[in-house]
Structure formats: structure tokens, C-alpha cells
Amino acid sequence: MNLESYRQIAQRAIQSLPSEHGDWLIEKRLAAIRQMSDLGIPDARQEAWRYTSVEGLTAKTFQFDNLVLDATFDSPELSPLNEPVAARLVFIDGIYNPALSVGDGQHGCKITSLRSAMAEGDQSVLLSVAKLSGVGDHLFTALNMATVQDGAVIKLSPGVIIEHPVELLHITTNRSDSHGRQLRHLVELDKGASVSLIERYLSISDDTDYFNNVVCEISLAEGAELRHQRLQQEGELAYHLSNVHVELGQGARYQAVNAALGGAWSRTELHNGFSGKDAELDVAGLYAAGDGQLTDFHLDVDHAVPHCTSRENFKGILYGAGRAVFDGLIQVQVDAQQSEAHLHNANLMLSTQAEVDTKPQLVILADDVKCSHGTSVGQLDQEALFYLRSRGIDAAQARRILCLGFVGEIIDKFETPSLREQINSDLLQRMRF
């Protein structure tokens, strides 16, 4: 599809939106459409897209029609969690399914869908949309803003602490074949509030061809704390794009761990900024890509204010003809004295056809800072392989064990045990060598 077809799709989507309560997002939607023309289709001449081609994606003629709830779908228990949740919002094919969801929050917190916030014309929610993300910094984020119909809204009042995690479970069925789904999540934690968020993407089958396009905006007020576990296990043909924007107020803490395991094409953009001092950011991630897969993490952290700490650690396993891109940029602005920032990316290459393009960067304008960055690309340790085999473990299993060991420190950051188990077993299943 060319730019004009994307614009037309967006126009049509806007016209078909239900507007009986008025559309509080209309200005932003129209601005996003205008933005689409200015931005154009991403190409390799742009640094952010240098190693990640969108040709496969634009070659598809995905439908972006109006979402209708499929009430017949009733098997969300795809790899369920064993742990209790405070709430679970289930999105089937990009639309919130209240019948399958549980928990509606507690006193001092609002947990709802963006669709119902739009239907009710809930201004407190709608005014926040795009506050961090803007209406779009590239074609696909603008497309999301222009056409978004659903998502999750999580707002915590000052001091509210939720013990169990809130889960956003996204399931794609074969109804999504040849479709693009836009989702937008909004997470706002007021002063001193704290919660743990789980975000999962699953497909019912491996032969559904679709595009999930997600934007997530997270703002943490003074002293607020969010633990965020993100897990992408989509089907083999899936296109997945996630944009996560995080803003940390004074003394806020954001601790995130990402796993990108599935999809034919998967890109996660993580944008993080500090607006108050003494805040802490810890973002980790793991990715695995084999034949027919491209996985991409773009990460930036903007230290605009002093006394903040950020740590980023990403690890990847590439096998078969798998490809990965890692681009991490830490900027420490001139006034951001006493910042601490550490960025690391390590890759394990299991085959000569695999490829990784990794680019960790630090741009430091302040002079009193503690910063480090590093990257590595290596192969399996033959000594270790021999050691495992000499204990009776066959070569293929030995390689899998070493791979799991390599990303073990990242998997351990998933605080929900079921998720750790699912990642382990998913990786073992995917790595058929």
C-alpha cells in the first residue's frame, strides 16, 4: 500500500466510528492524518528504519475496518496465568471483551476500556490520549492515532497500591486474517500509586496474517511505581509494532521487562523520559528470532533532569536465518548532572545465516555522570557444550539449555512465575535445532 491508501483507510475508519456521544479524539485523529502525509512511509534512509524494512508490511493490503465484538469467542484460557490478578482486560482481535475480562478495579482506581471511555465521552481520559506520544512520529503511530478504536485505561489515584497485577491479554483469532488492529493503552499513576502490569500478545494459530499496532502511554507521577511485564508470542505470520512511552516524575520508578519471541516482523519502540529528579528506570528485554523472523527493539532514554538512574539490558538469540535489530540511545542533557545510565546489549548467534545489527549509543552533555554502554555478539561456548554433553545431555538439548542460560537473567526479571515458565517452554519449542 502507498501513502495515499493508508490515508484513505484512516479517513474511512474515522467516518465509520460511532459518534453518538461526539468524538473527543477527532482533532487528534485529523492531526494524525495530516501528519501521515508529512511523515511518509518509513524507509532505509531514515536512521530509525535503516535495518528494519517495512516492505513486507506495506506489501500487505490489510483491512482496517470497524471493530465488532465477537461474542462467540470463549476460549481465552490460552496459556493462563496461575497467579491471581487484580484485573484482566481481554482484547480479542483488538477489541475489549467484557465477558472474558475480570475485575473492575477497586476504590481509587479506574480500569476500563478506551472504547467505553470514548462512548461515555470521558474527558479525563480522552484529554490524556497522545499527551506523551504525540499524534504520531512515523506513519504507523499516526495511523494508530487516526484510527484507534480500543485499548485499556488504567488510572490510579494518589497512594493507591494494587497488590496483584493487572493483565492486558491480547488474543488474535483467525477472524483477524488480513487485518490491521490498532490499540492504545493509557496508564496513569498518580502520586505514590503502585501497580504491576502484564501485557501479553498471543495468536490462536500460526497461519493468521495480521498486523497488531499498539501504542502505550505511561505516566508516573511523583513517587509512583510501575512494574511492567511485556510478552509478545504472536504467530509466525504476524506483524507486531509496539510503541511504549514512559514519563517518570520525581522519585518515580519504572521497571520493565520485555520478551519478543513470535511474529514474522516485530518491532518495539520504547521511549522513556524523566521529568523529575531521583527517578529510576530499569528496562530489560530478550528476543529470539529464527527463520523468517525479524525482531527489532528501538529504545531511547532522555535524561533531561539531574539525579536519575537508568539501566537497560537486552539479550537476543538468533538462529537459522533469524534477524535482529537493536538500537539504544541514552541522552544525558547538559543540566542532567549526577545521572547514572547503563546500556547493554548481548547477542548469541547460533548460525552463520543469522544477522544482528546492534547500535548502543550514549550522548552525554553533562560532565558529572556515571555512564556505560556495551554490546557483544558471540557464539555458544564449545567448552560449555562439551561439559553438558559429557553429562549425557544430547547436543541439541545442550544448545537449548545454554541459550536459556544466556537469557536467564532477563527471564528472571519476570516476577510472575507463570510467565517465566511460559517463556522457557516457548523458547524451547521455537528453538528446533
Binding site: F386, Y387, S390, R391, I393, D394, I401, L402, V407, E409
Partner: protein, 250 residues
Amino acid sequence: MLTIENLHAGIEEKAILKGIDLRINAGEVHAIMGPNGSGKSTLAHILAGRDGYQVSDGAVNYLGDNLLELEVEQRAQRGLFLAMQYPVELPGVNNMSFLRESLNAIRKARGDEEIDAVSFMKLVRAKAKQVKLDDKLLKRPVNVGFSGGEKKRNEILQMAVLEPRLAILDETDSGLDIDALRTVADGVNMLRSEERALLVVTHYQRLLEYIQPDFVHVLAAGRIIRSGGKELALELEEKGYGWLLNEAAA
């Protein structure tokens, strides 16, 4: 159990073993001693199946199989165990899970049922106690951050759990203080039995004070130049390797 005949092997063009003959029966403990560079570790590695060595002549028969044709893991599955001189660190690989994976691989190959988690825990705890390995180390990644002594104890723990038919100890005494040495030796002695054979590779006689061998072989420049009983080890301790080397040269 193990018969080595006229084994010649080396790395690339360099010959290291130049005609080894050795026969080990079930129930026996053999020690191979020799100066540095004599080929002791090479022999241990070739038996375990490590890459990088070329066998140019000779044969090794283990329990009726041509050992040299078996994959590394097949050798282990058939009861061969190498306690390594430098146990490898495996970051991110839990010690307990590793050992369970290993035991189950061996049991499966033998046609036995896999061991369940509870029985396994009990087994490992008991064995760890025997070799005086701190329980905490079971939960850590394999050998990561272990002291030299802890690594060796961990090897002996693996051996105790896997119960090999033929255990080869490659310089297990190196880097051990006397207490650790004794613990390791006790662990090894507990495994002595009529069905099991041990091959202890060592530079020093020290370990053999605790693990009394039935046979001692002296390896020098790739050949066994002398075989004898345990008294040979004492003689070597007293006189060093020089006299034997001179005798062999004469």
C-alpha cells in the same frame, strides 16, 4: 570394561599419545601418573570424547562398544563420567536443573523412567551432604562463583548422583587444600564397588593416599613406561619421575 590398545593420538600434527595399552576391569581402581605434558589429560579427554584430537591408530573398547565411535553424550549415557580438571561455569543454568536434566537423559537412554522432582531433590540433598557441598550452591548457576574446592565437590556430587560405570578423575586434586582433598576422596571412595571402575589421573601421589589404587601406571611422553601396584606411587613420591624417565630412555 575398558580396553585401550595401541592408542596413538594428537592435536593436529602433534603426536601426544604414542601407543597406549591399558585394560581396566570392573571393580578396579587405576591411577595414571606422570609429569606435566606426558599426555595424561589428553587420554582422559579422548576417552570422554572431547573435540580437537585426532586418533591415528589403535582402538578403545568400552563395554563391548568401539568407544571412539560414540558421541560424547552416548558415552555418558553408557556410564562413562569425566570429572574435569577445570569444571566449566554455566551462567544462567541452574545447578539442580542441570543435574536433573543430566540424570534423566542418562536414565532415559537406559530405558528407565525419569525421576520425579521430589525424589530427585531428596537424592541430591543426601548426596550433597555426603560431599559436603553447601545446599545453597545447588540453587546457583553451575559452578558460577564457586571456589576451586566447591567446583571439584560439585563434580563429585554429579558423579555420586549419576553413578557411572567408569569414572575418570582428571587432576581432581589440583588446587585443593587438604580438607577438600579428603572430602573429595571420601566421595570417590563411597562409589567404589564391584561393578564400577575408576581411573584417577594425577600428577601427585597425595590423592592416592586417600583413594588407594589397585594399579598405578606411569605415563611419560605418550607411553605407559611402568605399571605396578600402589607402592609404585610411593616410590614416585620419594624419587620423583626422573629415575623412571632415565630408565625408560636407557
